[in-house]
Symmetry: D2
Subunit: 361 residues, 4 copies
């Protein structure tokens, strides 16, 4: 498949199917000397974990990660880091009945067409279960960026269906199962999810990611721009259909006089650009939004075909999330961290020595 | 900078500054045997060319491309193709006065911070002039995809400011300077641009790209998904702040029962997904939208600083587009073609022999 | 470290230290549909395994490989393949006494300088133990190349110290612990190794690799030539100090009239080139030699320093091979297979359809 | 062809055929702030230039290089550098008679088989003329490494046919057309070349490359070892059939006690390893040898076939070198510089801060 690696200097390569023996990944390019242990990774994995609230799939996975290499006496050595999560709750028997069926809007059809074979159990490689390793790898990047550079990368639920959630309080984000930063919206979200469960339906979501304290200078023009690489990483998350940087699609109907970010000796006066100019970080907060579609795994029957080309009806019962977007919060943080870490290492190699430069007074 | 290459098997590497001697690129990975001549590239270059209508920058560039290698007796040989466009209308003197100034919302500030030095003439490497070589390289991909696989890649202006332009007629798109597919909107667009010129302001735009006849199977999960690579390529275009695949951000408030694409023996019943499932093309039309911000090069003065940190006022007079989005149409097509061509070659290497498979009756 | 991947379309990424918990690798780019099971890999691993004869290190490792993903119902699916070997015989206590010492001619010194930290147990990541995963990954390539294309990749011991071993019989190669193809030299080899053990010394070796039935057309000029990529892969094996293709260094004193390979309608009349012309396979047998230095881990004391810069004497007692070259035979085969597989996939993407061409009658 | 790029952070991509309009390359990843002008490149190009002595091909090429981008006001800006050399002495008419012939031991046959088409004029892309751009790109790396790090990279002729040339004096190397460092051998070399011309034959050569003052720490284990990448780069030079690092093939018959490099507080006592341990530079002088085969373009007729499969006799008259190895000296330096520069940039990204470490007193 040869598409299982992301990053050029901070390289993450993953493997594993939804119902295989294990998920794993190799993180290459972690600088030596970072203190690292399994708990550092587990924290984020637990935020993504299935079965962690009644709003997410009821599949039970411990998602316990093991560090198999690259860390010696509590510190990274600069060698490749092997990570492993064993699958425990596989229940393969559940899936035999969809063996020959292409579930609508899933990857079943395209995998079968491309490869002529597919692991049909729980979506196989196409399952969002694969993102567990992204979260694990991203935790290493997040830790490095935070400890060495003071960068903080956080995401929250900005919208679910027609419920808009402003970020009012970061504390709140970590205290409810929706990653919602506005306490006053918790009831509406709860109600929406209940009604979806009842209707056997699902809904989309919008996630906002903020990276604070990013130094100026990250990003390599002209193709490997920081925003382009973020778009790549975020769009590679299952179910994502849109990516915005800064004001995103709102710029279409904005004038240059409204949309530009003026500068004074004290710094930028606004941040419509979302912290990136000409593909390079400006030192302002980096802001991105992603749109996630509703999962097509719903109880309401829909038409599809089997591998013999026969039309039939498909409906999904069982352990699925009514809003997959919720669990995308730690994944989006992880992907952002991976991209920033990669560009931090690239910048080490390509930048001038700009230690002396500082244009703000 | 080491970010000047895009693609893994169909590789495009570019060089050139806005006011340097020349722009150039190397296109590596073109299969042998494709008939190719300079006119094939010139057609698209002429669509992007500055000064081609009164609505775009008045800089005059012939943008005549030369093929320096890789084509022998009218056919590609499989070796790397060198392309060159000499800059003729450089007018470097115009720019001396902004030598020490960081124009707001331009890349001046971030380039200076990252590299400690920059070619300040017309934006240097950060200028959209660089995209000429993308268009030239993309033309080769477009020609190959069309001739060998019957793929057609076309884009149009979907919105400028508050003027929405539906695609009613592809013919129309090629007959007006706005790439607008709805004749009834031409007057409104013309009026908007006039009023912007008068006000010394600019506005954003939305472009829609459609790739028809793309075979099923292009895209490499899990990171190098076709949609992720499209997002990367499109977001790397100057001024782009958002990318959508299929229904894009509209999915946030859609139910799974509304948003899924059901399948029958005759094919898909809808295309909310925009032709990509699980990162792999489904055989449906691929659809993407991009949002382009208004250029900050406007006559209305705004605050900024110089390289000494002093605050000052900046305004741009001269040869700039009130809506840079217009000229992004051929660029967006080119980037889409480059990504599809790359994934076509990758699929050659990675796919099963699926010639026999066809699930639709 | 970011150097732990080899290949562009057939990508092998490894992790693991000599005395860590496990060794592992991810093989990405295996085409779908190949029958594959753990025994396919184990066969080659057993040939490389330590402790498999009295001539190699007495460390006991089962080297049992597990396939964790990418294979479903006995066949590859086109997704990334995760492989794992747990370390069982770690004996970390043996190494505490060399914790602060740079063993001469080992990587201890350079790792410490580069990373400021190293896993000193048994050489850590620099140990040849890492090559177990190369052999495992190479077995997949070997199987694919053999089953689908009829390619056969085999290596043998060409020289150990001053004992030259011609290839007289492939059968013989697999029947003695030296991988020697000349039965009449077995006694001399045995004698040499005994005398080395007695003297507490070691010796170098030369290995010859032959790849038969390779189709014409593999290799991508001008930098990723097949011979250049073979040189890279073979030189990356621990202790290798030289690589030859075809006649190698013997060409220095050969005339053009002696060294060229004439062609007739029946085919080539000789193979001085070793099966590669202009970086592309010619359809002849590919031939390469590698030179491996004697291991510096010997009982004879030598001078070195510790991490405080103090001079001291170092000698190695215990489980080391007097000739590491012996065990390089399956490793060299594996690296050759990885390179050929990668170029086979690249050629799928880049070649013309040359099915009709055949110049030999 | 997609093999026309070398390097990961210092990336060199080339194009151009022997008798095309021009040769060119893009050098990406040059750090900003290096003083650079065309003369810096021209010096090395002149050393490689055809027709520069009576011992090399009589083709006359000015080989005047132009810098088209990436340098502003005399300094590199961090953006991609475009280089161009126009072909002036093309004489295409000379080659029409070999249009349909596969010259023995040339790439004619393999290119035709791989691509189904080839530029037959003077070898097309397979011609050593392509190496002019390697020399130009290498000059930038050489200049950077010398100015910023004090690294010196030089090569000399170590052997031609049976004439061995020890390095006695670097001055001498630059004063004779053979790059020979032993004045006493000049007559023998002259005599050998005369006799070859008379006989219409050619001969092989051995070149030795030395890189002095390389800091400890360059090289990324386990696959992208410094020695592995050097082997790749050097083996990619036309006609090279062997690469040695340090003692090379001589290690086969050496004991561990003879071959190891002992260390004292004052430094290493020997340099059998050639300056690389475990794939990482040790701070000692890096030493490599390459073997170049005699050119098969000779006057003595040999058998070959045409593209119709007919056997015929081929002989080459005209402008060819009796010993192509001579001109490989600046090319080998360039390739070494490119690899070291790439690893210097990679080390910037991956190393610990080892400024404080120094084990030698």
């Amino acid at each position: 498949m040869a598409g299982n690696t992301i990053g050029s200097l901070f390289k993450v390569t993953t493997f594993g199917e939804s119902h295989g023996l294990a998920l794993g990944c190799i993180v290459d390019g972690v600088p030596p000397g970072l203190e690292l242990c399994e708990e550092d990774l587990q924290k984020d994995l637990d935020r993504r974990k299935p079965g962690s609230s009644r709003y997410t799939t009821q599949r039970r996975e411990a998602d316990e990660v093991k560090i198999l290499s690259g860390v010696f006496e509590g510190k990274t050595t600069g060698t490749s880091i092997g990570l492993l999560i064993e699958n425990t709750d596989q229940r393969s028997q559940d899936y035999s009945r969809i063996k020959d069926i292409f579930r609508p809007s899933h990857a079943d059809y395209t995998y079968q067409q491309k490869y002529g074979i597919r692991d049909y159990r729980g979506g196989g490689r196409a399952s969002a279960r694969e993102t567990a390793m992204r979260v694990a790898a991203g935790s290493i990047a997040k830790k490095y960026l935070h400890e060495k550079l003071g960068i903080s990368i956080r995401a929250y639920l900005a919208q679910m269906g027609d419920v808009h959630c402003e970020l009012k309080d970061w504390q709140q984000v970590s205290q409810n199962p929706f990653f919602c930063g506005d306490e006053s919206k918790l009831e509406a979200l709860d109600e929406l999810l209940r009604s979806l469960r009842k209707a056997g339906d699902s809904v989309g979501a919008k996630i906002t990611i903020l990276a604070e304290n990013v130094p100026v200078g990250l990003g390599e023009p002209v193709f490997d721009r920081l925003d382009a690489d973020l778009a790549h990483a975020l769009m590679s998350i299952n179910a994502v259909k849109g990516v915005e940087i800064g004001d995103g699609f709102a710029v279409v109907n904005k004038r240059g006089s409204q949309n530009r970010d003026e500068i004074t000796a004290q710094g930028f006066l606004s941040n419509h650009a979302g912290g990136i100019l000409g593909g390079i970080s400006s030192g302002q907060t980096i802001k991105a939004n992603i749109a996630l579609k509703a999962t097509p795994s719903i109880e309401i029957a829909g038409q599809s075909i089997d591998i013999h080309g026969n039309t039939l009806e498909v409906s999904t019962h069982g352990r699925h999330d009514p809003c997959v977007g919720i669990r995308a919060v730690p994944i989006a943080e992880a992907m952002t961290a991976i991209v920033l870490m990669d560009h931090y290492l690239r910048n080490r190699a390509q930048c001038a020595d700009v230690n002396q430069l500082n244009y703000f007074k």
